[in-house]
Amino acid sequence: MKQRLKHALPTAALLIVSAALIVLGAAQGQAAQVLAKAVKICLECVGIG
């Protein structure tokens, strides 16, 4: 049981932190910023810009 908990705790903590970050970022409109960049051809990425 202890072994199981030792395995699961850091993972669970990181998952909770990541979920909080995602929600916080989305609330600030960062998902929309990701979308705005991704729907246009990234000229730097393809080697033009």
Partner: protein
Amino acid sequence: MAVQGAAALVQNANFKGFFAGKIYEGNLKSVCVPGLNCYSCPGAVGSCPIGSLQNALSANKFKFPYYVLGLLIFFGALLGRLVCGFLCPFGLLQDLLHKIPFPKKIKSFKGDKLLRKLKYAVLIVTVIILPLFVKLTPVFCKYLCPSGTASGLLLALGDNTLFKLFGSRFAWKACVLGMIVLLSVVIYRPFCKYLCPLGAFYAPFNKVAAVRIAVDADKCVSCGKCADACNMCVNPSQTPNHTECIRCGDCIHACPTKALRCTWPGVGNAAGSTVPRTPDHP
């Protein structure tokens, strides 16, 4: 390889884009995919996490990139470098290239260990520090990313007018891509080992991710077959959750005593009668 192929197809499901030379413009692109898959690939239906991170860091008005970082930590905490082994389309490309017969495949060489640290420098310098100071410039995407170069080529195949726009920067990036392609035939996953900033980000998560590898010390006979099978030059019987392990599973298949196994929290560790005794699970 079937899982890798399926993952690459799912992440690049905008098939008509390949023929039209156009990228997908739907809302799914507000979510980053776990692997290195340029959002300018005509098939891409999600966003590249490394491109999105650089874009957020190099924005004129800086805001801490909670969203992209949250997604990256989520993938890392859940899967670690299993993303590299199974979900990254560029990893699949390198795997396929490595299957091409070559007289002398190189598994390790002098300086290999040191060179593997380079990917951490690429992450810190070109993905984090330089975009923070050189505004509106995703340095890794602009000068190094081979996924973007391949995307450019795929776009140009669908829309020939793009070929006229390719200049010296594209020539440089094409050289980088060409080197990685050639090296992949001889060395297993050279980009993952030495350059990939995404692999560098996920690497530390291997020790704490939900997916891990455990060694049953009672079954292990220290025959070394797992280490021989590992193309990333890890010794899974000693360090099953090494930062270089991409969870390909070759070691598990190679183990004659079934001492290695993939574990999830609550599953695997306690499923058997023995408890794994490894440096990670003392």
